[in-house]
């Protein structure tokens, strides 16, 4: 046998096409039979023993990034995963922009470049959030402009308040009590939620003041993880932020992952599963989903790109330039990665044992 060395981008693109084909094939088969029989042509990388598996085990939830974004109707409410610079679903934000989605409401504790992209394009106009900036780099310029223009509204909460709203949604209770926000304008002032933003009450048991925040049950949860199997069992490395609660509070959960692993890997280390498949509606596998942000154990943030992004968003013209160049000017996520450049991307890959 002869091995030919191919450039990584070619391999990744082939894998991408194969994934699309195999997931389509499997869904068509599932539709015809309900239970899969031996197919005429099995995608070569799928397990040989799939004939022996039960129906739930063979569920292949993989779809493409394009298909995932297509499911989100205008005006939907989305839990948005990732925290700070970590595991931001940037590729999904890009795809929502390319598909010209409008008027989404975003729920998250703190997100940064992804919110800038969505608010800058009008993809999202309402934000139930605690924080947005590019942290050490400075203010969120697009958010600042759109809020000043009256084109975006932020319903302000604290980080703990948002995390507890997701926990409440995941637990299927209407509200959660917290000890933050009382005495401040976070309680006194509200926007589109009006008097449903929160309530401060006297505790019926102790009589002390307590703040009730309404549970969040958005239409979708979008969470970016390191690894997933085809049924949706998801592994997260590093910190989880508020993603465990957030993943479980949406009506549908889309998991984006850097790497596809076999179910055997999941079952050999079940304690690594942070989101079990039973919560997951769809799975998207693609590399460098968070670029220019980071993904622990996979790649570091791209400081040069981030600084450039922050600089360009200081003016509307600069932002439109960035948008035309990196988001609208490319066909898909792979085209974006080509534009950023594979040499550059490979330079961001994490080194052991640091994770960045």
């Amino acid at each position: 046998m002869k091995f030919i060395v191919r450039p990584l981008e070619v391999i990744l693109e082939e894998e991408h096409t194969l994934l699309q084909l195999s997931s389509r094939l499997m869904r068509r088969k599932a539709k015809i039979k309900g239970r899969l029989g031996p197919g005429p042509k099995k995608p070569h990388h799928l397990s040989e023993r799939w004939q022996d598996l039960t129906e739930s085990e063979i569920a292949d939830k993989r779809i493409t990034l394009e298909e995932a974004a297509k499911m989100v109707p205008d005006g939907s409410h989305l839990f948005w995963g990732g925290f700070g610079f970590q595991r931001a679903p940037i590729a999904f934000a890009h795809e929502l922009v390319r598909q010209k989605k409008r008027d989404l409401t975003i729920y998250t504790c703190g997100s940064e470049v992804d919110l800038e992209i969505m608010v800058g394009t009008g993809v999202a106009t309402h934000f139930d959030i605690a924080f947005t900036a590019i942290e050490a780099l400075g203010l969120a310029n697009n958010m600042r402009r759109r809020v000043a223009e009256g084109k975006a509204q932020v319903e302000d909460y604290s980080n703990l308040a948002m995390a507890m709203r997701f926990l409440g949604g995941a637990l299927n209770v209407p509200f959660m009590p917290i000890r933050s926000m009382m005495g401040t304008d976070l309680v006194r002032l509200s926007r589109y939620r009006g008097d449903k933003k929160l309530k401060v009450i006297d505790c019926p048991f102790t009589g002390e003041k307590i703040c009730l925040v309404p549970s969040a049950k958005p239409d979708f949860s979008v969470v970016h993880v390191q690894r997933v199997d085809q049924t949706g069992n998801a592994q997260i490395d590093g910190i989880v932020g508020e993603d465990l609660e957030g993943a479980r509070c949406g009506k549908k959960l889309i998991v984006l992952a850097e790497e596809l692993i076999d179910e055997a890997e999941v079952r050999s280390r079940p304690d690594q599963t942070k989101i079990p498949a039973m919560y997951v509606s769809h799975v998207v596998v693609a590399p460098f989903i968070a670029h220019p942000m980071m993904c622990h154990n996979y790649y570091d943030y791209d400081l040069e790109h981030l600084q450039n992004f922050h600089k360009m968003t200081k003016t509307e013209e600069g932002w439109q330039d960035y948008l035309d160049n990196f988001i609208l000017g490319v066909e898909n996520h792979y085209d974006y990665l080509n534009k950023v450049g594979w040499d550059h991307l490979m330079g961001l890959r994490a080194k052991k044992p640091w994770g960045y």
């Binding site: 507890m164 401040t184 910190i239 932020g241 994490a350």
Partner: protein
């Protein structure tokens, strides 16, 4: 006498407020450097946490984000937000929180959300993040700000994080877990709070700064005690450690801002 920049001075002063063995929310930027400096000098057993989920962190390189992977290696645990802001902070287990702000009033209440009227904001600032949670529930709060008259206001454009609210009794009225701000450090001086009125009080002025300079640069009345000492300057050892912690000058190179 050691030579130092404004930012090095602020960092050194802030670090002196961390005591050994305390549980500290460091965040990023100058507060993080201050906490790390404290650990390297007088408070080796300080437990540094990041709200994203890192516990007892000993980062090798300075993180740019509270969720930065640079926080991961060397931490004793890497969990999530309900762990840090809920189980740990809200349950009263944090001794010290650091916060900055765009505006502060005489009770140490902070604005990090909007400049301008709420209905038509001129500038959208980052928002609370974990700031309100930390100000509500940390046993004490250290506030760090660059000194600018427009930041020390009689009335905040937006009250994001609670200081001593309207004075004595008001934190208790809202059942807040923590004790509120204990010190405000600027590049001109340090303030603490008068125990009777809970209003801001001049604590020390930095070398070369007069009491009048400070009073000219705030928009509210400041309680001035009879004797106002001069803030201690950083040692060469402290400055060397800072530069070892931040060799690329990610935070130190920013100078006055």
């Amino acid at each position: 006498m050691a030579k130092y920049t404004k930012i090095e001075f602020l960092t050194a002063v802030a670090s002196t407020h961390v005591k050994d063995g305390e549980n500290v929310f460091g965040g990023t930027g100058l507060p993080l450097l201050a906490a790390l400096l404290a650990k390297e000098t007088h408070a080796p057993h300080a437990n540094l946490l990041s709200e994203a989920g890192f516990i007892d962190a000993r980062p090798k390189n300075v993180p740019l984000s509270v969720a930065d992977s640079r926080y991961y290696y060397g931490s004793s645990a890497s969990i999530g937000l309900i762990e840090t802001l809920g189980f740990i902070l809200q349950a009263g287990r944090i001794d010290v929180g650091f916060l900055g702000a765009a505006q502060i009033d005489e009770y140490g209440n902070l604005n990090t959300t909007y400049i301008g009227p709420f209905d038509k904001p001129k500038v959208k600032l980052p928002g609370s993040g974990g700031g309100n949670d930390i100000a509500s529930s940390a046993k004490r709060l250290i506030i760090i700000m660059t000194h600018d008259k427009r930041k020390f206001v009689k009335k905040l454009d937006y009250l994001t994080s609670p200081g001593h609210l309207e004075g004595p009794g008001s934190r208790k009225k809202w059942s807040l877990v923590g004790g509120g701000p204990s010190v405000v450090i600027t590049d001109m001086c340090q303030f603490d709070f008068d125990p009777k009125t809970l209003k801001i009080r001049l604590m020390s002025v930095h070398p070369g700064v007069t009491v009048k300079d400070v009073l000219d640069n705030v928009m509210f009345d400041v309680i001035v005690p009879e004797r106002v000492p001069t803030t201690k300057e950083p040692s060469q050892q402290q400055i060397d450690i800072m530069h070892r912690l931040d060799p690329h000058g990610i935070y130190l190179a920013k100078g006055g801002e």
